[in-house]
């Protein structure tokens, strides 16, 4: 099966340098993961063994499938008939082998017919949509509403008891499952930019489908086929069990039916075909699951208690700290800082047991009424630093060094491995709040904006709903929303991005926090909206005298708002100081490089950085 799929992918009309290479690169890792999964390797082994037995049936079987020895019916196993004989004196082992041949082939036929109909139809319907999709959806609706078993019985009555005909019919009946699967997968990539790029390159639709679209449906089709083949075996055997099969052919279903008739005389006649079916269907289902697991990128990292030991010296104090009930007092002389981060290190355990540090030895502090900008490029660890103050790091993150204190108390004491959620949940939303980057994805589309503002206030401040409502309306006015009543009762999709960000800012200040952490609060907004939001942030910060940590990559935003700046690169703090010093007289080379990348004040059409030796971007 996978072979034919592979060749189909290779046979893309557009010539390429290494045809098929692309498929194998992805596949090899999937296959390796499949083979590393015990379920996968067991099910593969079972299916391979059964297929091998089926293929070699003419060699392995001691008798013909219908050779009957009237003198020896319902015999117990002996050296000639190793599994005994049935009521007509036919050898059970031989019939089981020939039955495997027929049963597996007919299941393949069924899946093949279903794929041949469902896959192309699904590809076309998903890619083009329009009339073809409408018509095929209609056809699929009809097919799915047909009572399958009755159709199969009718077909048997009309065309006789042929396994092949009934499996072709069943293939047609079940083809909608492939159609739907394919159509959905295709629709999800139809508008990807690489498909557009291929169109601009002038690729024909056929080439686009073969090259760019088919690869998406390949894996789900393989999984689906495993399941469908199992179902086909079950349905076919079911029909034959009812006595509707072809009695001249040996299949597992026919054997089952035969065994059932003689269940009191020789129960093992029932056992062997049932066992073969259970093994095959089970193998197919498990294989499908294993492939799915292999595709779902399961690079799971085992929970490692020992991880701490890798840090060497810090392990011992960590254990000592964790056993202690109370939190140590902060260093004397630093209590007045609103937030103080000392030598913070954040890391993620890797599959090989090492810890990848994303924040390394970062120290800074923020006072009340002060705005600190953390600037850096993606991957510099600026968001990770902000999240560790909020205690919102992913579960597998570890604080590998340092401490964080908030208003004179540790939230992360020296030597602790994780952020203490109990300590932080008392602060989060009340004294520390957060303004996210993507305003739209941070409002729940199922609730009104008013509800999302009122609920936290009722919980945190313990005020009544009515009071919270009044407060929310006032807050919305404060953040410059012209018609607060209307916004209050609106759903998130009814407001613009800039408006949504104002709502989130209103939410962030609703519980009168001391510290606001804003993670790229204007990056997703238009420039004109950004200017309004920056004005709003400045005005609120001055009025409420709160401390703000502003994470951004934009030096213009820094210049607009911040009092002090910390520049981060690769998890380290390269430079920190008052905003004028950093922006005008940067000391570190990296800060200078970043500032040199700014376009403002540059001669148009001049090279920005290429005078330096060109590194790869």
């Amino acid at each position: 099966m996978s072979d034919s799929v592979e060749t189909a992918a290779v046979a893309a009309p557009a010539p390429s340098l290494h045809p098929g290479q692309s498929g194998t690169v992805v596949r090899s890792t999937v296959v390796r993961r499949l083979l590393r999964n015990p379920l996968g390797i067991i099910s593969l082994a079972i299916l391979l063994a059964i297929s091998l037995l089926a293929v070699l049936a003419p060699v392995l079987a001691p008798f013909q499938e219908n050779y009957s020895n009237i003198a020896k019916t319902l015999a117990a196993p002996d050296s000639v008939n190793i599994l005994g004989t049935d009521s007509a004196g036919r050898d059970v082992w031989s019939r089981l082998l020939f039955g495997a041949q027929l049963t597996l082939l007919s299941a393949l036929l069924c899946a093949g017919v279903a794929i041949a109909i469902g896959l192309p139809a699904g590809l076309i319907a998903g890619y083009y949509g329009g009339k073809f999709e409408a018509v095929s959806n209609w056809a699929v609706g009809i097919l799915m509403s047909l009572p399958g078993l009755i159709v199969l019985l009718t077909i048997r009555a009309a065309f006789g008891p042929s396994v092949w005909i009934s499996m072709i019919a069943f293939g047609i009946l079940i083809s909608p499952s492939y159609f739907r699967l394919t159509r959905t997968a295709v629709q999800s990539v139809r508008n990807e930019l690489y498909v557009d790029a291929a169109r601009v390159s002038g690729l024909s639709d056929l080439s686009i489908i073969a090259r760019h679209i088919f690869s998406v449906v390949r894996a789900p089709i393989i999984i689906q086929t495993a399941a469908i083949a199992g179902v086909a075996i079950a349905v076919q055997s079911g029909l034959e069990f009812l006595g509707l099969g072809d009695p001249t052919k040996a299949t597992w279903g026919v054997m089952l039916s035969e065994g059932f008739k003689n269940v009191y005389l020789n129960p093992t006649l029932l056992f062997w075909p049932a066992f073969a079916m259970a093994l095959t269907i089970g193998g197919l289902v498990l294989l499908g699951n294993a492939i799915r697991d292999a595709l779902e990128d399961g690079e799971k990292i085992k929970h490692r208690k020992k991880a701490a030991k890798l840090k060497g010296t810090t392990a011992a104090p960590a254990a000592a700290r964790l056993s202690r009930k109370s939190v140590a007092a902060v260093d004397a002389g630093t209590e007045h800082h609103l937030v103080k981060v000392t030598n913070l290190g954040v890391g993620y355990p890797q599959a090989d047991g090492s810890i990848k540090k994303v924040v390394d030895d970062v120290s800074f502090h923020v006072d009340r009424g002060e705005i600190l900008g953390i600037v850096g490029e993606s991957g510099s660890g600026k968001s990770q630093t902000a999240f560790s103050i909020l205690g919102l790091l992913p579960d597998n993150a570890r604080i590998v060094a340092g401490s964080i204190q908030f208003d004179g108390n540790y939230t992360v004491a020296p030597g602790e491995e994780r952020v203490d959620q109990a300590r932080l949940s008392k602060l989060r939303g009340k004294r520390i709040s957060y303004i996210p980057q993507e305003p739209m994805s941070n409002l729940d589309p199922a609730f009104t904006i008013g509800y999302q503002l009122v609920t936290p206030m009722v919980r945190v401040l313990g005020i009544s709903k009515e009071e919270a409502r009044k407060r929310a309306l006032k807050l919305l006015t404060d953040v410059g929303i012209v018609n607060p009543e209307r916004t209050f009762s609106a759903y998130p999709h009814e407001v613009s991005g800039g408006m949504a960000q104002r709502v989130l800012i209103a939410g962030a200040i609703s519980c009168e926090p001391d510290l606001v952490i804003a993670d790229e609060p204007t990056t997703a907004l238009d420039v004109t909206v950004q200017a309004d939001v920056l004005d709003l942030l400045r005005e609120l910060q001055q009025r409420l005298n709160i401390g703000v940590i502003l994470v951004t990559h934009n030096f213009g935003v820094v210049a607009d708002l911040c009092d002090r700046v910390a520049v981060m690169q690769n998890g380290r703090l390269v430079e920190e100081g008052p905003v004028r010093d950093i922006l005008r007289n940067p000391k570190e080379r990296y800060t200078r490089t970043l500032l040199a990348s700014m376009l403002e004040g540059k001669t148009p059409m001049s090279m920005l950085v290429s005078s330096q030796k060109e590194p790869v971007a």
Binding site: A14, V26, L193, D196, A197, L203, E600, P604, V616
Partner: protein, 294 residues
């Protein structure tokens, strides 16, 4: 490469009274008009910067030129031929001269294909031999300064900036005359953006290619463009030489846009902020008096 020189030659691309409408999903509802009466032209070796906010239709204009958005009215003329309703076959021939670089380098490259295959795709469509295509791919990687071992690697092994280089290399593969660049640096870090902009300028210097450069960032557009067109709500509200439009704009929206972009110095930014507030105030004033919508 002054604009005066450029104007003397017949323009490479002309868009005349272009209208793009998307049919509404609802029955018998009016179609959604994304672009209204667009007129632009781009000469050989020239860059036209297209700036505007999200939803202003700047991306749609680029897509209409490429044949990815439906042209309801008006004309797109490329080298004297009307291509507004070009067939797929005509597009295939056009693709030698007309190419694209998209915004998002993460979805514009097929994650399942190797870089070499991605770059060879447009060459293969034009029927280039495998050996020649292979040589060309090496050349392209060199041109965008990627290591030649990139051929056998997958997009996910590269950073955003490197992926955008691959996308640029793909656009360059057939030595086109015009590249539509749809926010090609918006998803990149500041220093990466600077390097990629350098690359765009270098390529233009070396090959004389023209760009239709779409961006929301006035600074980027000012840096890379000869001429700039400003879009607002599906229309072009202002068009002219880059220096003029981006330093001394006439249209109220462009004026707002210019002063909204913050500068990296606290004192100058404070000045700019004050200027912006004054401008907003006066525009509000005018608006109230005239009742006109800016």
């Amino acid at each position: 490469m002054s604009t005066v020189e450029v104007r003397e030659i017949a323009p490479l691309l002309t868009v005349e009274n272009l209208i793009v409408e998307y049919p509404s999903k609802r029955f018998r509802a009016k179609p959604f008009r994304a672009l209204t009466d667009i007129n632009i032209s781009i000469g050989q070796g020239e860059t036209l910067g297209l700036v505007g906010e999200s939803g202003s239709g700047k991306t749609t204009l680029g897509r209409a030129v490429l044949g990815l958005a439906p042209v309801t009215g008006g004309k797109v003329i490329f080298e004297g031929r009307d291509i507004s309703h070009a067939t797929r076959k005509q597009r295939r021939i056009l693709s030698r001269d007309l190419q694209v670089v998209f915004q998002d380098p993460y979805t514009s490259l097929n994650p399942a294909l190797e870089i070499g295959d991605i770059l060879a795709e447009p060459l293969g469509v034009q029927g280039m031999e495998q050996a020649a295509a292979k040589r060309r791919v090496k050349e392209l990687l060199d041109q965008v300064r990627l290591p030649s071992d990139a051929i056998h690697r997958l997009p996910r092994e590269f950073s955003g900036g490197q992926r955008q280089r691959v996308a640029i290399a793909r656009a360059l593969a057939l030595s086109p005359k015009l590249i539509v660049c749809d926010e090609p640096v918006s998803a990149l870090d500041l220093s990466t953006q600077a390097r990629v902009l350098d690359l765009f300028l270098q390529i233009q210097k070396d090959t004389g290619v023209s760009y239709l450069f779409v961006s929301h960032d006035l600074d980027v557009v000012r840096h890379i463009s000869h001429r700039v067109a400003v879009m607002y709500r599906g229309e072009i509200v202002e068009q002219g030489p880059a220096e003029v439009v981006t330093r001394d704009p006439e249209h109220p929206y462009t004026q707002r846009l210019l002063l909204a972009s913050p500068v990296p110095d606290p004192d100058r930014q404070e000045q700019r902020r004050a200027d912006r507030h004054r401008l907003m105030e006066s525009q509000r004033h005018q608006h109230e008096q005239a009742g006109a919508v800016a």
